[in-house]
């Protein structure tokens, strides 16, 4: 089964997306051959009240339980977030928690995140940290949102070894992932979401390319295929782009199967 760990419903504020909303996402899933998607709402990022997005996710996962796996966005700067979280867990059995520290403006090293991690452990849920939704270089001047520093993510991964943490990003995400691995080489409690990954060039000092490296092949070697989760960020990104990157990588079919869905299934069941 192909399971996308990072699909987005809700409204995108910067341009009209043709496939916006759950109907659009469903049609993209059908087009790209994606059976299931872990989903959150962009409204949880951009609306004043992040719960509006979670309400939408609750509704669509009730309508299409066979296609959508609900994640709940938590904004730990919001009063009563813990009560909100527990209500959503009870109400629609969210399978994971998602954090947007860049937009919601908090540090991963703060007290709030320690509390979120504790709740996640108690509830047995993975925590997805989205360091940035889209490349900062495209952000309009009136709304430039700095991405969460990857070193903060590395520190959080080391500080909360009992938590399962999924990491996703945007601008030059592969470079950030390489830094992450460098700074948390011993940690085994994190997963890397694949949207935004591409190739990188091994270079010598002068900037000349010495070899070309496919990120999926490299990561399967560096951290193991069991820690890679296929994600698309659709309908913001074209889902086939990320799927093709995995499918056309020179890794075993077993590894592809793991990345495209099996790892996520195991993580969410656990």
């Amino acid at each position: 089964m192909v399971l996308d760990i990072n699909a987005l419903v809700g409204r995108w504020p910067f341009w009209r997306l043709k496939y916006e909303g759950f109907k659009g996402v469903l049609s993209l899933m059908d087009r790209a051959g994606i059976e299931k998607a872990a989903v959150t709402s962009l409204d949880s990022v951009f609306y004043l009240n992040y719960q509006n997005g979670n309400d939408e996710v609750a509704e669509i996962s009730r309508l299409h339980p066979e296609r959508f796996v609900p994640f709940v966005v938590v904004n730990p700067t919001f009063p009563l977030w813990k009560e909100h979280l527990n209500a959503y867990i009870k109400e629609y059995k969210a399978a994971g928690i998602k954090l947007h520290p860049d937009h919601h403006k908090y540090s991963l090293s703060g007290r709030e995140v320690a509390d979120v991690m504790k709740e996640a452990r108690n509830l047995g849920l993975p925590v997805y940290i989205q360091t940035s939704i889209w490349d900062m270089r495209h952000h309009p001047g009136y709304c430039v949102v700095m991405e969460t520093p990857i070193l903060e993510v590395a520190s959080a991964i080391k500080a909360y070894p009992e938590n399962k943490i999924i990491v996703g990003g945007a601008k030059h995400f592969l470079a950030r992932v390489r830094e992450l691995i460098q700074h948390a080489p011993e940690s085994r409690n994190f997963y890397i979401e694949t949207s935004g990954l591409g190739f990188f060039a091994r270079e010598r000092g002068s900037g000349e390319t010495l070899s070309l490296v496919n990120s999926i092949e490299w990561l399967a070697e560096a951290v193991g295929s069991s820690r890679l989760l296929f994600g698309t960020r659709m309908p913001l990104l074209i889902p086939e782009a990320g799927k093709s990157l995995v499918e056309k990588s020179k890794i075993s079919s077993d590894d592809k199967e793991r990345i495209l869905g099996k790892n996520a299934e195991e993580l969410l069941k656990a």
Binding site: R16, G198, T209, K248
Partner: protein, 260 residues
């Protein structure tokens, strides 16, 4: 025919072969290999343009079916125009670029390079220009965080195109914030864009076709820093007509490179 208009050179022969195989696996037939970055980029090395041309010529000879070579010159080099002419006439280069990717240099400097750009027009070759425009009003801190590459106001795109009406200018990376870049370029038929070097965002290619027409859009990947399959998907899965898709994927490039 799929032609990638934006590929950076790879010096190691084995790595170059690997890149070609990856391109082929993504269904790409031809790669436009851009000239090595300008001499000013390699401040300590001071390699000559002729050396770079010789290297490129070898690559073009070895992979004549799948590689089209571009040259590059230092924008601030007083001999840039004669280097360009020599590169085209003696070494068989079919384009110039990627211009503007020089450290410590503002792309507004291209406004002073009209002689070089007009020479490209005379030689009937296209020019690929690195293009991420900046947003007005950002604090120096944000400027630094948002991008460490040469950036410029969107208006520069239109102004360069206005000054060199006979030269085909291909601004890379859809200009950064594409909505502004497309509007800046819209009045100038010679101002085109490539789709290289950013995440496969939905709707960007469609918007380019809507504002500029497919004749002014070129597929590019920005390999080896980007994946061929993910980059070509931007065009393959865009909601546009087959004709528009064919133009962007290769038809336009065949025209400006004289491959028809």
């Amino acid at each position: 025919m799929i032609i990638d208009i934006h590929v950076h050179p790879v010096v190691d022969e084995k790595a170059f072969g690997h890149m070609l195989r990856e391109a082929e696996a993504a269904g790409i037939d031809k790669l436009v290999v851009l000239g090595a970055l300008q001499r000013t980029y390699y401040e300590d090395e001071k390699r000559s343009v002729d050396d770079e041309n010789m290297k490129m010529k070898k690559v073009m000879k070895k992979y004549s079916d799948s590689v089209v070579g571009f040259c590059n010159v230092g924008c601030t080099d007083p001999d840039a125009t004669s280097f360009l002419e020599k590169s085209v006439r003696e070494f068989g280069m079919r384009g110039l670029g990627e211009l503007g990717y020089e450290r410590h240099w503002d792309l507004r400097g291209l406004l002073g390079c009209h002689l070089l750009l007009r020479k490209a027009g005379e030689l009937r070759i296209p020019v690929v220009i690195h293009s991420w425009h900046t947003e007005e009003g950002l604090s120096p801190h944000l400027e630094e965080q948002v991008g460490n590459q040469p950036r410029h106001s969107a208006h520069v795109i239109g102004e360069i195109a206005r000054r060199c009406p006979d030269t085909t200018l291909i601004f890379s990376h859809v200009g950064g914030i594409w909505e502004k870049a497309f509007q800046a370029a819209k009045p100038y038929e010679n101002a085109c864009f490539d789709t290289s070097g950013f995440d496969p965002l939905m709707g960007v290619v469609e918007r380019a076709v809507q504002v500029l027409g497919s004749e002014r859009v070129f597929f590019g990947s920005d390999a080896p820093g980007r994946s061929f399959v993910a980059q070509v998907a931007k065009v393959q899965y865009a909601d546009i007509s087959k004709r528009d898709r064919d133009m962007i994927l290769g038809g336009n490039a065949m025209g400006v490179l004289g491959l028809r």
